[in-house]
Subunit: 272 residues, 2 copies
């Protein structure tokens, strides 16, 4: 079965593999795209992480995850700026196509999501020059509105595009089907994102969803019309990988990694 | 403390009261607004329900809930149209300001939310003449996007207003802070809803939210800036009640009804 154009976000097999064993498992199945998290890279260090990725001929479709400026106060904002700059260095070291930058929630005790959104924009603007200098693109990833309070104050693709228009060169968007599938304006906004799409994430929305964070589904097991979204993304000129990102504490994280990867390949061929 | 302008949706005290004991408990606390569900009315019949409400001098700020056309097939659609017409009769009998009409999810096995939205519009158009004849307004209630798959395919206030513009006279919107607080375009859309706002529901978004359906918070216990939304709704000309609607299986549904009502009044005065 085809594996070209398929990338696996290592969160999908978080409990089965580390960076080295994860990449090796993907290679064994013929998959050449991977998206690691900072925990994977920091566990072995940038240099070794880069060696693992390069020696296995892997394409890094994204590096997860930064941003999170929404909940910061002034001191916290500077710490986050510094940390995000380190993430840019790490992303450059492993040759990441982009860094995935989520909004973060509101500051503890705050009920002011406008301020959170403003802090996100400010934080992104503060790190963008370093990202440009390192040749790493920043992908604004809108998260599902159910995460707006405590995880991702940027909810809509329209907001993400607005932010990119303010940030300019070196920024773009990550389009994750899980977060955006329900948006009645999705087609218009994907069209509007033309030239700015840096990543395309896939998984499925389960009915019922038993946990707001850790019950995402394998493609085909839920209700998202993934081919429709893929067509929109391709029509907007995106030619990159489809990256599978599944948080699934009670199902896929408990299965053998080999089975998870085989299932991703099978569904990529039959569903997506 | 002030109780004027406060309404309690009986779902908030679902496990404590039926229609009669619920209305009597509200009256005891000086509350004159109530929003019953069909289960409350059907348990005693329309005539007795109307008597309970009228004899206690209650204002019915909404009648919950109908619509749900999104998941229907052709036969199911006709059955839903018939059932929604009966709901209109019930709503008219109890003197409801409006009927709360949610989208419903997608049909079982479907991944086509556009079709679900189309069915909702068609269903609403089919029952609107009967609603007009009975003098009962239909309130399109957008639900949080986390319910789009299986409960409410109408997610955004902008969609609800679009639907009202197509339906015309006799339709309007219900603005529930829980469903809409995160929307970056909320202020614009509430302004646009001027003259169409039929209901204003309040509760709070808890962090963390432990259950997608049954873990709504008491006003003040979460992150929603309720006064800001109230100001927007009032600036758009709404002069009706604030209606408390809290689904809370593990907290408020387990407390004495008297305590729940007292807390609603207290928070209405200090938070909203």
């Amino acid at each position: 079965m085809k594996t070209e154009g398929l990338s696996i976000n290592l969160a999908t097999v978080r409990h089965q593999y580390d960076l080295k064993t994860g990449v090796e498992a993907l290679v064994k199945h013929g998959i050449r795209g991977v998206s690691p998290w900072r925990e994977h890279v920091q566990a072995v260090g940038m240099t070794e992480a880069a060696r693992i990725i390069t020696s296995n001929g892997m394409k890094v479709t994204g590096y997860c995850r930064g941003g999170l400026f929404g909940g910061a106060d002034a001191a916290g904002q500077q710490a986050l700026i510094d940390d995000n700059k380190r993430m840019i260095d790490e992303g450059a070291a492993i040759g990441a196509d982009c860094l995935v930058m989520i909004g973060g929630g509101m500051a503890p005790g705050s009920r002011d999501i406008k301020t959170a959104r403003g802090r996100y924009l400010d934080g992104m603007a503060a790190i963008l020059p370093h990202a440009r200098a390192c040749g790493v693109a920043l992908a604004v990833e809108p998260l599902h509105p159910m995460y707006a309070a405590d995880r991702g104050c940027i909810s809509l693709l329209s907001e993400a595009i607005d932010i990119c228009e303010q940030l300019g060169e070196g920024s773009g968007v990550a389009i994750d089907a899980y977060h955006l599938w329900w948006d009645p304006d999705l087609e218009n906004q994907i069209t509007r994102a033309k030239g700015k799409i840096l990543a395309h994430h896939i998984c499925d929305w389960l009915v019922p969803t038993k946990d707001m964070l850790l019950d995402r589904g394998m493609m085909g097991d839920g209700v998202i019309d993934l081919p429709r979204i893929r067509r929109m993304v391709e029509a907007a000129g995106f030619t990159g990988y489809q990256e599978v990102e599944i948080f699934s504490a009670e199902n896929w994280w408990k299965r053998p990694g080999d089975e998870v990867i085989r299932t991703c390949i099978e569904r990529y061929n039959t569903v997506c």
